[in-house]
Symmetry: C2
Subunit: 482 residues, 2 copies
């Protein structure tokens, strides 16, 4: 521990008690590695303030002593965004004790939750008042409100409800000078200059530490219908999506799956089978829901949609889940894709987006380009077609030594894929953020005007570069020193 | 003209032709005064670039020569936001020639419009493809896309569709260093750090000059129903709103009108009459629409809603417009309120918001406080209850000399009202922005952490303070020199 860190730790312990600090290496160890084991950092202490005021006091002291802080919620980042630098110069600031639901106001359609509230807890709190928080993802048992907001998380309901950016009505955050920004009033109209709440959403903890958020909740689902559809191409899938959007606001999920990816699921995941008898090059999982009092029957919405699309030759075949068990079986295929892809062999994964209208071409033509450029590889693209966002995997050629191939080729493959994404007007990070993993590619692909603006904002708000060092747009000297 | 201004004007004329510059005082004069005649500035030239590239070149030259620029669209600001400083050190940069619709893509639900496109033109373009741009306001014949986005404009459809912030899917803007930020791809998911598009929305031209925007369009209205409702209190009106929100997504407008304000309309505006026979303390104008293929019948939505509310004693009486002519007559009352209030005598006007749930108390209790504190005055609050946003007028006592009263009392009244708004957790500028008019009150009421963050961002992005000087959060030395 540096002398500055020691002073900070001692001050926090004396002001806020023993439970606000941990220096036990065994207790700290799990929080130094990201959950996929790709990034390993060092930190001599975890600070765990119990209130916004304590966060503000800690930040003010850290600013005075020049000690960097890494905010951490559930530590479920896919890009090393919550892992401290390897040189141990930063302390972890955990939001685990900021775990109160300050307000559940179903009439106003909102919940005010502290940063450490876990997504599952938020779902339960909304359900208890006949509502739901319309964002869900696999890490729901660990991911926290602060992390979800700081990374602008997505999920399978973005089509209808948007990402966290649309669901966060306001945030409370401690800024690097120790001041508290309070946007929890969540005004529907507020034109007092730059939108600080939106600036903090997706900032990955580099501009402020979110301590609480006002979140939108919506009426609970009263009924749902889930369909599985076979199509010839992503273009046909997009046409089906357009029809769904024109027909009804009830469609909440629209996920595309390649036929060969479905094959991997059936091969590797027990008790799975194809919902359709016939083989198709592409498949779509579609879900419609009814919520609120006067909503359409979702079963009828999907029946009408799919019957029309079948009659017009847009789709090849379709089936509606006849029971909740069957609906779950359809969704299990979708949620097993990552696991099945892993089981099928090594692959370089990408989390990318392009404009929705451009996505079918990307999935066909650009995917073919990748396979030509790296002979023997096979691409797999699946996910949120309606958001213009797919998980784009490039699988190793058959028979290669996986780790060696990855070490040799992954960088070149990712650079090539990212170049195609940029050429298509897309984003090299659709859902997961930049964290540590994509810092270099973001800097390479810019564009320069964007990087310059991000750096200027970072330097203006956090001139000492003490908030989540080394992430997103590290300032000069902010990279971890070995 | 300063030597620097002369160099800039000469360079622009030689590079981009005579029509890109005007130095004719008669041609310039109308653009030096805001449309209400409250702010008067000076500028020796108007620059009118014809493309984003020309804007970028002009900005780069202005940065080199140190010449401030005031971006101007339709010049319809309510707060002097587009009026140049009085000392003439800035030039006006007009977006009038950036008037192309670059793309109308109804299948994607978007239009890409240049900054100088007038709102009415945008409405017409959307209507031509069976769609609509769901934002409307009185200045639709003058207000431009660039100004609407830069001020995060609102209107009477915010309840359902949000302000410009929700309708702007991405912007193209020239930053103060002459670089172009291109966010027009309008990715639904893009987590490459801070959201520059959202930062530029509502920035009032102080961080970038918006040159184009990708805007959301939605299916055209196929049928609408308009109702007029009498209630005893804003609290009852809010309960009606909650019922409407639970019942249906079809309600797009929900406007509250005080009984005495309705009286002013009937007194001052020809051919108006009260829609209800009985007198009520408060009235609500409610509109439901059907759009898209499977939408509910809006007439039935309102019938069910109002019948239930009447049976439960929430409302006192209600009538549905029996014809489009009657619907227009109801709306004419709403749109005549400002004119009727003006005709009824001098008043100090405020554009404020508080959390929606808090608004009824504000309209009753805080309004009474104002009337007690300034004896003889009478408050009038009307507008967008569902957005927590009302136009809050404080009328002069009967018999006073209007201009003298205004000169004497307006400042104290506004400060008192703003203090109440801040105490209620609200915003001193809901719709109109800060411009010149509210700079001092924003600085006074902060909070300090907010002002510090705004200033830091402004200084980081526009270190020479050349973009729309004197507006929003003027930096040191940026105020107009007499």
């Amino acid at each position: 521990m540096t002398p500055q860190q020691s002073r900070l730790v001692a001050a926090v312990r004396s002001r806020f008690g023993a439970r606000s600090v941990s220096t036990d290496p065994d207790a700290i160890a799990p929080w130094l590695v990201d959950w996929r084991g790709r990034y390993r950092g060092a930190a001599p202490a975890i600070l765990s303030p119990g209130s916004t005021e304590e966060v503000a006091a800690i930040v003010a002291l850290a600013a005075e002593y020049g000690v960097p802080l890494v905010p951490q919620g559930g530590n479920t980042s896919m890009v090393g965004g919550a892992t401290p630098p390897a040189d141990g110069r930063a302390l972890i600031l955990s939001t685990r004790r900021l775990n109160r639901l300050r307000r559940v106001a179903q009439d106003d359609g909102l919940i005010v939750a502290e940063a450490g509230v876990i997504l599952q807890t938020l779902h339960d709190a909304a359900a208890a008042v006949g509502h739901r928080f319309p964002l869900d993802l696999g890490a729901r048992g660990s991911a926290t409100v602060g992390g979800l907001a700081s990374t602008n998380a997505g999920g399978v309901q973005v089509l209808r409800w948007g990402t966290m950016r649309a669901l966060v009505l306001g945030v409370e955050a401690v800024l690097p000078d120790g001041q508290v920004h309070d946007g929890l009033a969540a005004l529907k109209k507020d034109n007092r200059g730059y939108d600080l709440d939106q600036l903090l959403v997706g900032a990955e903890g580099t501009l402020g530490i979110i301590t609480a958020a006002t979140l939108r909740i919506v009426p609970a689902v009263r009924a749902r219908a889930v369909g599985w559809v076979g199509v010839d191409s992503p273009h046909a899938a997009l046409e089906l999506l357009r029809r769904a959007e024109r027909a009804s606001g009830a469609v909440e999920s629209f996920e595309i799956v390649a036929g060969h990816s479905l094959g991997e699921v059936i091969r590797h995941i027990p008790d799975t089978r194809s919902p359709l008898a016939q083989a198709f090059a592409w498949h779509v999982l579609i879900e419609a829901v009814a919520a609120g009092e006067g909503a359409d029957d979702p079963q009828r919405v999907l029946e009408d949609l799919l019957a029309g699309a079948l009659a017009d030759g847009v789709i090849g075949d379709a089936v509606l889940a006849a029971s909740e068990a069957q609906a779950k079986a359809f969704w299990r295929i979708r949620h097993s894709l990552s696991e099945a892809e892993r089981a099928s062999g090594p692959a370089v994964q990408h989390d990318i987006s392009v404009p929705v209208a451009r996505m079918p071409d990307f999935m066909v033509d650009d995917a073919a380009r990748v396979e030509r450029r790296f002979p023997g590889t096979r691409t797999a693209a699946f996910g949120h077609l309606g958001d213009g966002n797919v998980h784009f995997h490039v699988r190793a050629p058959a028979g290669v030594d996986g780790p060696a191939w990855y070490a040799e080729e992954a960088g070149a493959i990712t650079a090539y894929v990212n170049d195609l994404v940029v050429a298509a007007g897309g984003s090299i990070s659709a859902e997961h953020g930049i964290g540590q993993m994509k810092v270099a590619e973001l800097a390479r692909l810019g564009p320069a005007s964007r990087i310059a603006a991000l750096r200027a904002i970072k330097a203006a708000i956090d001139p000492q570069a003490l908030f989540n060092p080394g992430k997103l747009v590290p300032l000069a000297g902010e990279e971890a020193q070995p």
